[in-house]
C-alpha cells in the first residue's frame, strides 16, 4: 500500500464532511434527546475542522477566530439546550424525541 508523502488540505475537508454527515445521520436515527444534542455538537466540530483547514490553506487566522466564536456559541447553546432538556423532562418524564411533538400545529 502506497501512502502519499503528504496530506493535502482537501482530505481534512473530506474528513470534516464525513464527520458532519455522521452527525446528521445520528440526528436522524437517534431518539434520545441528549444523544441528538451530542450529534449537533458533532456537526459543529466537523464544521470547526473545515474552518481550521481553510485557515491553514489561506494562511490567515481569521478562520480560527470563527472556530473560536463557534465554540463560544456552542457552549452557550449547550447551557440553554440542556436546561431546556431538563425542563422538557420534568414536564413529560421522557427523553424520547418522538414524544416531543408540540411543534405540530
Amino acid at each position: 500500500m502506497m501512502l502519499p508523502n503528504a496530506v493535502p488540505v482537501s482530505w481534512y475537508l473530506i474528513l470534516s464532511a464525513i464527520l458532519f454527515s455522521m452527525g446528521v445521520a445520528g440526528f436522524l436515527i437517534r431518539r434520545n434527546i441528549i444523544t441528538v444534542f451530542m450529534c449537533i455538537e458533532l456537526m459543529l466540530n466537523a464544521v470547526n475542522l473545515s474552518f481550521v483547514a481553510f485557515s491553514y490553506e489561506l494562511k490567515k487566522i481569521d478562520g480560527q477566530l470563527f472556530t473560536f466564536f463557534v465554540m463560544v456559541v456552542a457552549a452557550a447553546e449547550a447551557a440553554v439546550g440542556l436546561a431546556i432538556i431538563l425542563t422538557v423532562f420534568r414536564h413529560r418524564m421522557s427523553l424520547e424525541i418522538d414524544d416531543v411533538s408540540s411543534l405540530k400545529n
Binding site: 446528521v24 440526528f27 436522524l28 436515527i29 441528538v36 424525541i97 418522538d98 416531543v100 411533538s101 408540540s102 411543534l103 405540530k104 400545529n105
Partner: protein, 619 residues
C-alpha cells in the same frame, strides 16, 4: 363704492340669538328666551331698514367683502355680501315677515316642550335665510341653501317623540338634497365655464354670451340650477316633501314652508336671470314644470281635509305660478308674487294655526265649522288672505297674479288658459276651506277660544299687508328688472282672471254653503279619479316602490350580503381555504417530529447541491 354698511350684522344677530338660546336657553325663563329671539330678529329688521335707507335707490348694487373663504389655485371664493334691488325685496320679506312670525310663535308655542330649542332653531333659520339672500356668490348662497334645509329638517322634526315628524323632516332634507345635487353640479359647471362663482363676474361674462338656440352650456347650468330650485321650492317632481313638512309646528309652516324658504328657488332663478335669458330651452322647462305643478297641486288641494295640508298644496301651486312667471321672463312679477304670497300665505297658515290652537290641536276640517263667531278676529284676518289668494281685485294677490298670467299670455296662449283655470281652482279650494271651517255648524268637541294678542297682533298686521302690501311693494319690485309686459292695456285679460277667481268662490259657496251634500255626490260620481287625486296621485307610493324599496333591498341583499359578504369575502376566504388545503397536504410532512424536519433539510441540501452540479455551478 359706497361706504360699508356692516351688512354682516343682519344675519349675525339671529345667529347670536340662536347660540344664546341653544346654549343657555334651557336655564332661562321663557320670557328671556322669547325676548332674545324676538329682539335678535327685530335688530336684524331695523338694521335692514337702516342699511336700505342709507343706500338709497340702489342704482348700482352695494357689495361688501369680509374675508376669503376658500382659495385654491385660481379659484377664490370670498365671504361677500351684496344688496341690490332684488335682495332688498327679499330682505324686507324675510326680516319683516320673520319678525311677525317670531312674535306669533311666542304665543303659539307657549305650552310646548322645548321652547328654547324651538326659538334657537327658528333664529338659526333666519341666519341661513339671510345669508342666502345676501350672498354675493353661488357658494355662499349654497351655504344658506343647505342651511335653511337643515333648519327646516330640525323644525319639521321638532316634535321629537312623533315618528311621522322625524320621518317628514328626514324626507324634506333628503329631497332637498336631491335639489342641492343639481345646484352643486350647476356650480361646478359655472366654475369651469366662468372660472368664478362671484355673481358680478359670472353674470358679466354670461351677458356677453349669445342666446343658445340649441342646448349648450348655459342651458345645462340653467337646468341644473332649476333642479336645485325644484327641490327647495317644491316643484314637480320634488314637491313631495312640502305637504309632509306640515308635521312641524304651524309658525314653522308659515315662515319656512310658505313665506321664505320655499321661495328661495324663485329667488335663485331670478338672480340667475342673465343665464336663463340666454337659455330659452331651460325657460320652457321652467314654464312647463311650473304650470304642471300649479295644476297638480291645486287639484290635490281640492280634495284634502287637513286644513294645513290644503294650504300646503296651495303653496306648492302658488310656487308653480311664480315659476311660470320666471319661465315667461317676467322675473319681477315672480318676485312680486313671492312678496304678496308671503303676506297672504303667512296669514293663512298663522290663521290656521290660530284655529288649531283654538281647537287644541284639531286639524281636520270635517270636525270644524261655524267658528266664525267663536274666533272672530282669526276669521276676519283670514278673510283678507282668502280674498287675496282668490284674486279679488283690490287685494294684493290679484295684482301679482294678474301680472303673471298676463306675462304668460305673452309667451303662450294655452298656458294662459290653463293658468286661469288653475287660478279658479285655487279660489275654489281656499273658499272651500274657509266655508268648511268658519261657516255652518260647529262639528267638533273641543271648546274653541280666541288666541292671545301676541298671535292676533301679527295676524292683523299681515292681513293688512295682504290687502295693501301689493300696492306698497309694486314699485320696489318693478325696479328690479326688465320692464314686463304688464304695463299696457290688458283689460280683457284682467277681466277673465278676475272672473275665474270669482267663479271659483261662487262654486265653492254653492257646493259647501248651499248644497252640503253636493260635494260628496260629486266625489262619488268621479269615483276612481277622485280617489286618485285624494291620494295625491300616489306619487309617494310610486317613489317608495320605484326608488326607496329597490335601493334598500338592493343594497341589503345584493350589495351587502351578496357582493360584500358572499363574493368578495368569498374570494378572500377562498384564497384562504385554498391555502389551508395546500397546507393540509404539506402538514403531513410536519408531524412535529424534529428528525423528520431534519430529513427534509438534508433532502433539500442534497437536492440543492445536485442541482448546482447539474447546472454546472459551483464556480
Amino acid at each position: 363704492m359706497t361706504e360699508s354698511q356692516s351688512l354682516w350684522l343682519i344675519p349675525i344677530l339671529p345667529l347670536i340669538g340662536a347660540a344664546l338660546n341653544g346654549l343657555l336657553g334651557r336655564r332661562l325663563p321663557k320670557m328671556a328666551v322669547s325676548a332674545i329671539a324676538i329682539l335678535s330678529v327685530l335688530g336684524s329688521f331695523l338694521w335692514v331698514m337702516k342699511c336700505l335707507s342709507a343706500l338709497g335707490n340702489l342704482d348700482t348694487p352695494h357689495a361688501e367683502h369680509y374675508f376669503t373663504w376658500i382659495q385654491s389655485g385660481a379659484l377664490e371664493i370670498g365671504v361677500d355680501f351684496m344688496v341690490d334691488r332684488l335682495t332688498r325685496i327679499m330682505l324686507l320679506i324675510v326680516t319683516g315677515v320673520g319678525l311677525l312670525i317670531h312674535i306669533y310663535a311666542v304665543g303659539y308655542m307657549d305650552h310646548e316642550e322645548g321652547f328654547s330649542r324651538f326659538f334657537s332653531y327658528l333664529n338659526l333659520f333666519m341666519f341661513f335665510m339671510l345669508t342666502l339672500v345676501l350672498a354675493k356668490n353661488f357658494l355662499l348662497v349654497f351655504v344658506g341653501w343647505e342651511g335653511v334645509g337643515l333648519a327646516s329638517y330640525l323644525l319639521i322634526g321638532f316634535y321629537l317623540k312623533e315618528k311621522f315628524a322625524g320621518d317628514a323632516g328626514k324626507k324634506a332634507f333628503i329631497v332637498n338634497r336631491i335639489g342641492d345635487f343639481g345646484f352643486s353640479l350647476a356650480m361646478f359647471l359655472i366654475v369651469i365655464t366662468f372660472g368664478s362663482l362671484d355673481f358680478t363676474k359670472v353674470f358679466e361674462a354670461a351677458a356677453k354670451m349669445p342666446v343658445e338656440a340649441h342646448a349648450g352650456i348655459l342651458t345645462a347650468i340653467a337646468l341644473l340650477l332649476f333642479v336645485g330650485a325644484c327641490g327647495k321650492s317644491a316643484q314637480m317632481p320634488l314637491y313631495v316633501w312640502l305637504p309632509d313638512a306640515m308635521a312641524g309646528p304651524t309658525p314653522v309652516s308659515a315662515l319656512i314652508h310658505a313665506a321664505t324658504m320655499v321661495t328661495a328657488g324663485v329667488y335663485i332663478v331670478a338672480r340667475a336671470s342673465v343665464i336663463f335669458d340666454r337659455a330659452p330651452i331651460a325657460l320652457d322647462v321652467v314654464s312647463y314644470i311650473g304650470l304642471l305643478t300649479a295644476v297638480v297641486a291645486a287639484t290635490i288641494g281640492v280634495t284634502q281635509y287637513d286644513i294645513k295640508k290644503v294650504f300646503a298644496y296651495s303653496t306648492v301651486s302658488q310656487l308653480g305660478f311664480m315659476f311660470m312667471a320666471c319661465g315667461a321672463k317676467a322675473y319681477s312679477s315672480g318676485i312680486f308674487h313671492v312678496a304678496t304670497h308671503a303676506f297672504f300665505k303667512a296669514v293663512l297658515f298663522l290663521g290656521a294655526g290660530s284655529v288649531i290652537h283654538a281647537l287644541h290641536g284639531e286639524q281636520d276640517m270635517r270636525n270644524m265649522g261655524g267658528l266664525r263667531s267663536k274666533i272672530p278676529q282669526t276669521f276676519a284676518t283670514l278673510c283678507f288672505a282668502w280674498l287675496a289668494i282668490s284674486g279679488v281685485p283690490g287685494f294684493s294677490g290679484a295684482l301679482s297674479k294678474d301680472e303673471i298670467l298676463i306675462a304668460v299670455h305673452g309667451k303662450s296662449e294655452w298656458m294662459f288658459w290653463v293658468g286661469v283655470v288653475t287660478a279658479g281652482i285655487t279660489a275654489f279650494y281656499v273658499s272651500r276651506a274657509m266655508f268648511m271651517t268658519f261657516f255652518g255648524e260647529y262639528r267638533g268637541k273641543a271648546h274653541p277660544h280666541e288666541s292671545p294678542l301676541s298671535m292676533t297682533g301679527p295676524l292683523w298686521v299681515l292681513a293688512l299687508l295682504s290687502a295693501a302690501g301689493g300696492y306698497l311693494m309694486r314699485d320696489l319690485v318693478h325696479s328690479i328688472g326688465p320692464e314686463t309686459a304688464s304695463h299696457g292695456d290688458h283689460g280683457s285679460l284682467e277681466f277673465i282672471i278676475v272672473a275665474a277667481g270669482l267663479l271659483g268662490i261662487g262654486l265653492a259657496a254653492f257646493m259647501y254653503l248651499m248644497n252640503r251634500g253636493l260635494s260628496q255626490s260629486v266625489a262619488k260620481a268621479l269615483g276612481p279619479v277622485y280617489r286618485l287625486v285624494y291620494d295625491k296621485y300616489r306619487v309617494d307610493e310610486f317613489y317608495d316602490a320605484a326608488l326607496v324599496r329597490p335601493i334598500q333591498a338592493g343594497s341589503e341583499s345584493v350589495l351587502w350580503k351578496g357582493l360584500d359578504v358572499l363574493l368578495i369575502d368569498g374570494v378572500v376566504n377562498g384564497v384562504g381555504r385554498t391555502a389551508s388545503a395546500i397546507g393540509g397536504i404539506l402538514r403531513r410532512c410536519q408531524g412535529g417530529h424534529v428528525p423528520s424536519y431534519a430529513t427534509w433539510i438534508v433532502l433539500g441540501a442534497a437536492l440543492v447541491l445536485i442541482g448546482f452540479q447539474l447546472v454546472g455551478g459551483g464556480r
